[in-house]
């Protein structure tokens, strides 16, 4: 019996594959390859289409534009890996940003204290999402749909709908918009901080037991529980860490926008989800890599930025993003169909 199995397995391993099958199986092993290829194609097209695209100056701006969505998409990735979804990303970030700016405006509170309170508020907001998901057992979609409205309303009520401009804020809150130039290429501290967030979270996801549990809980929560994984604690942790990342994104956003504005990035929710999905993370949980999300965020912003450089209208850019999402998910489905 056993010899039959080994021979059959060996035969199976030696089987002939068509080039398409081989590509499919490679993409299955490295799901971030296809978004990387897409990014390359986008770069190449814009390089050919417009001379101003691939310049040091443009690249610096592209990175700064990508930074906010890329940071939010880290939290979104963690939550989507657990088969959840977070519609309150933008709302938490804006609430946190308005609170830190209001507290610190015109020297009202030391910058560091205002910053910490703002970030802690975002952590608390994420924790609240997590409690509602794990203790009240509500679906993440419903929970975050509700908290999206709640946090948005609180942010508007608290700020009175008014923006707070950079000159009225302490230097610490504006700091992440500063940076240094290498030739025409300008790198801000915000962009560097996003890079650090990616490195840390990617390490945790791939190298620690906690990261493994995130995948396990997302793939099959009941099996994870039976295996001894503390599923609820992991879920609560994921929502809380996501909140922390949104709080840091709020800080980066003040520096980038040069102001704290209640309606800063209206489509932050959908853009962060788009980045995660294009990056190859499954909305059903348990599958995906953080590096994919980074590539996904870059693709979305490259498309936006490149098209705007070519003088294409905002509406057409939105349309292009929509088509991109559908193509990305279709390719993803095809890759998943690979056998062994």
């Amino acid at each position: 019996m056993s010899t039959d199995v080994t021979t059959a397995a060996a035969e199976f391993a030696r089987r002939q594959q068509s080039p398409v099958q081989r590509l499919q199986s490679q993409l299955h092993k490295r799901p971030w390859l296809s978004p990387l290829f897409l990014l390359f194609v986008a770069f190449l097209s814009f390089f050919i289409a417009t001379p101003t695209f691939l310049t040091a100056n443009s690249m610096g701006i592209l990175l700064q534009q990508t930074a906010i969505i890329a940071a939010l998409a880290v939290g979104q990735t963690l939550i989507i890996l657990t088969a959840g979804i977070d519609l309150s990303v933008g709302a938490i970030m804006v609430l946190s940003m308005m609170v830190m700016a209001s507290l610190a405006q015109d020297g009202g509170m030391p910058g560091i204290l205002a910053l910490l309170i703002g970030i802690l508020l975002a952590v608390g907001a994420g924790f609240l999402n997590g409690i509602l998901v794990t203790r009240i057992n509500l679906p993440p979609f419903i929970v975050t749909l509700g908290t999206l409205s709640i946090f948005t309303a609180i942010a508007l009520l608290y700020s009175g709908g008014a923006s707070i401009q950079a000159p009225r804020l302490p230097r610490l809150l504006n700091f992440l918009g500063e940076g240094f130039g290498i030739g025409g290429f300008r790198l801000t501290w915000g962009v560097i901080l996003v890079g650090v967030i990616y490195a840390v979270v990617a390490f945790v996801l791939s190298q620690t037991a906690w990261g493994r549990y995130v995948y396990a809980v997302g793939d099959d929560p009941e099996s994870a529980r039976l295996s001894g994984v503390p599923s609820k604690r992991i879920l609560l942790g994921v929502y809380t860490v996501a909140g922390l990342i949104y709080g840091i994104a709020a800080w980066i956003l003040i520096g980038r926008a040069g102001a704290a504005t209640p309606n800063a990035i209206p489509d932050a929710n959908l853009q962060s989800i788009t980045a995660v999905v294009i990056g190859g993370t499954s909305l059903f949980g348990g599958r995906g890599r953080l590096v994919g999300t980074l590539i996904g965020a870059l693709i979305v912003q490259t498309l936006q930025f490149g098209l705007s450089q070519m003088g294409v209208d905002q509406q057409w850019r939105v349309l292009a993003t929509g088509i991109l999402v559908i193509i990305a998910v279709a390719v993803d489905q095809w890759i998943r169909k690979v056998k062994a």
């Binding site: 019996m1 397995a9 493994r212 099996s223 994870a224 295996s227 056998k339």
Partner: protein, 325 residues
Amino acid sequence: MTVNWIQTPHTRASDLEVSHDGIPPGKEAIYAQEPVLSARNLVITFGRVVGLDGVDLDLYPGEVLAVIGDNGAGKSTLIKCLTGAYVPNSGTITMNGREVSFKKPQDAREAGIETVYQQLAVIPALDIASNLYLAREDRRKGPLGSIFRMLDKKGMERRAGEAVQNLGIQTIQNMGQAVETLSGGQRQAVAVARAAAFGSKVVVLDEPTAALGVKESGMVLDMIKQLRDKGLSIILVSHNMPHVWEVADRIHIQRLGGRAGVITPESHDMGEGVAIMTGAKKLGGTATPAAEAPRADAVHEGSRGSEGTRAGHVEDAPADRGDRP
């Protein structure tokens, strides 16, 4: 197999002999030892329904003890009491002669009793090594492990490979392969390997062949025999009589919350076993005191607990046979 094991025309069920101390021929040495796991007089009730009514069970080192019984006979209740999922109202459980008390499944796991659940509890997206080590990961030595909490991936993969090899499981080879790419039988092998690989003494398998085809079932049955030959004790809960008769050393028959008998595949054939299981043959002996009357009353009053109906459903059984063409 085309044996009609429900109705054996040659034997009248009521003439069968039932024993409680049947020892498979040639294996006397095993049964001269102290049992690795013993239960005495286990009683558990759910409201007015008696789940277990004074059940005894002995599991010896290196044997496969099958537990069979009709739906609601108390098989799974018995298993849950032995693995810490239920806490019996009274009765004692001993491991290697020492009395133990399991309040939760983790207690039983720490004492060396691992359970392979019917729903398998493997994570498809993770690879085999990650599944084997799930919730008991090893970290790197030094500050990489203690401060940065880095997993010792290479070490775990190597040790997982060694463990699988030591267990004699040949159906899974590449520890880095994702479980979702495996067949049902191979997934079962991963679940069993995880249960057996970490110094456990007793492995409880709940319907391990129920969802598998003929060839895959054969693979799992071979694996059970190999584990037994390595000295592990196995409790096999199954509805599939041909599989039970193929691998079991002894067969514990649950009926109406009590132990109807312990037989061996040599002492009784499948038809006789089913006859005892369904009550066509009643035991006039010692070990099921206060037989059916009080519990039957409880059921007929309609107070059915989590165990469901206790009435015999012989016709249900063949649906579970895995030996389809």
